[in-house]
């Protein structure tokens, strides 16, 4: 089934598929539309009913209140620091490790690689208690390092980069060796630029995951000033009586989602690859 100009007519199966997809899309989009709608409604109206979101009155007060009072900026900054730090460090570690496993020989390489791959099978929840104890003893809770570090050892990233480096023809590196390039130069000038698609995939996947991460920040960030966005929003929602109302809450949610939306607009193609690639994890 291809949609567009001058394309074949849809048959019955195509139409049924299309109808099912539209139905699923509506189910998926409806809560988001509802959240956005509520964010533009006055809180006193929402006290009476949360229906009729498309009918006036509308207001921008909830967003103005965020700019004036909310702690959401602080949480967002924390999320940015954690997500960006995690993304860059994961890229650096996974790329170097992937290249090492794909292209160099060292004693114990096979066992080390098996250990890395075995890491794919260990769920985060299984190691949360020892991780918590370790970080507590090192006084690393409520620090950026504490929020960033546990996910840097990312077996999926190492495996992804390993596979990608394996796919780069060895002849290209050999040509560079004959061109008198050092090993470092070959890595940075010849091989690394060829892995940009994999880097983009891994980078976006890591960023999205770090931005949406809930479990570890919940354990590690106990002080409100170290909350990430996910923890901060959850905290305000579970303490509904103390919030400025449901419209304000929804406006915060919309505000929190904006960076990801912008990211998506710029990197749509890579995000699709990242999600498809990460689906097997």
């Amino acid at each position: 089934m291809v949609l567009g100009r001058g394309v074949k007519k849809l048959d019955l199966v195509d139409m049924l598929l299309l109808a099912a997809l539209v139905g699923l899309a509506i189910v998926w989009v409806a809560p988001i539309v509802w959240v956005i709608g509520l964010a533009f409604k006055p809180n006193d109206v929402l006290m009476r009913t949360t229906g009729g979101i498309f009918a006036p009155p509308f207001t921008g007060k909830n967003f103005r209140d965020i700019l004036a009072t909310s702690a959401v900026f602080g949480w967002m900054l924390n999320s940015f620091i954690v997500a960006i730090g995690q993304t860059f460090l994961t890229l650096a570690i996974s790329t170097l490790a992937g290249y090492g496993f794909a292209r160099t020989d060292f004693p114990g390489k096979r066992i080390a690689f098996i250990l890395v791959i075995a890491g794919l099978a260990v769920p985060e929840q299984a190691i949360i208690v020892p991780l918590h104890t370790m970080f507590a003893e090192a006084h690393l809770h409520n620090t950026y390092f504490g929020l960033i570090a546990p996910r840097l050892a990312f077996p999926f990233g190492v495996f992804l980069m390993y596979q990608y480096f394996k796919g780069v023809p060895r002849e290209i590196e050999e040509a560079a060796m004959l061109d008198n390039a050092s090993r470092l130069k070959i890595f940075f000038r010849v091989v690394l630029p060829l892995t940009v698609p994999a880097q983009a995939t891994l980078g976006i996947y890591t960023f999205l995951h770090a931005w949406n991460e809930y479990f570890w920040p919940l354990v590690s960030a106990t002080k409100p000033e170290m909350y990430t966005l996910t923890i901060g929003l959850a905290a305000t929602q579970t303490n509904f009586a103390q919030t400025e109302g449901i419209g304000f809450l929804m406006a915060q949610a919309v505000f929190a989602g904006l960076p990801i939306l912008i990211l998506y607009l710029f990197f749509q193609r890579h995000i699709v690859t990242a999600v498809a690639g990460g689906a097997g994890k």
Binding site: I172, E174, N180, A181
Partner: protein, 358 residues
Amino acid sequence: MAGISLHNVGKSYGSVEVIPDLSMEIISGEFLVFLGPSGCGKSTLLRMIAGLEELSNGEILIDGTRVDALPPGQRGVAMVFQHYALYPHMTVRDNMAFGLRNIGMSAGEIDRKIADAARILEMDHLLARKPSQLSGGQRQRVAIGRAIVKEPKAFLFDEPLSNLDAALRSRTRIELARLHQQVKATMIFVTHDQVEAMTMASRIAIMNQGRIEQVGTPLEVYRRPRTRFVAGFIGTPAMNILTVRLLGEDKGGAVVALPGGQRVETRVPISGLASSATLELGVRAEHVTTGGGIDGRAEVVERLGDRTFVYARLPDGALVVYEDAGDSTVSVGDPVALGFNPAQVHLFDSAGIGHHAA
């Protein structure tokens, strides 16, 4: 321009011996082709000269200097790979400049060398393009250009024509031969295609199972194959090889008999043949004559226009191919009477060594 010496060069991967012990001299300025079937070790040998494979034993000298301990970039050689190995993210100009920048050459000098190479290879209009925007033939040219700008002591080619279509391959063959005359550098070319070897080489080194079977000019290896392997490998169609029995000597040449008893006279001196347990006779299709005393029946007739190859079955079951005129009237099933030109018959002893007319 430099000569290359290989002294007792060997290569093993664990217990697998790819090249047992190989020595040869590659003459400065020559176009040497390593020719052999897949897996014979010719690419491994080339990669050892380039420095991309370590030697298990032996030594390599380029221009009299031992290089086998030097990294590839310091051996003064340039290589053109089978799949071109261009840097996909760099323009053609940057591909050619990369190696020159790495040795600290000035930008002006680099530009001049690239311009010279682009002129020789007629690819000035491609310099700003990326490899993905080039055809297979153009990529090949860039790969050659990248080698030329380095002005190496020797060019190494690893089956560089195998990815081109037939027409382009034949054109590139001519261009490479012309390039060799122009730059007068030592060139080593690896291929399994005997047409490439015959048309371009100053000398051909025919390899089999990690050993050199024969080194010689194209005509030498064609006319006087040193071994039975060379006889069977060079030439299309392959040389007819028939098992024979030594009868004696006549007019200074060995006389042999085919399994069916037909007597064949040769000009091959008999010395060294009598002690051989078995003997094989080799004769090329163009040296099989019609009207002789060996009867057969035409089984396959290949008409190529300017000539015809007839595959005839002898009563003893052997198949003999001979060359007939382009307008040959022979049809499948026709009886044919064949003879062998005695001066062009070769005999191979039980060790596979060829004996030729004096």
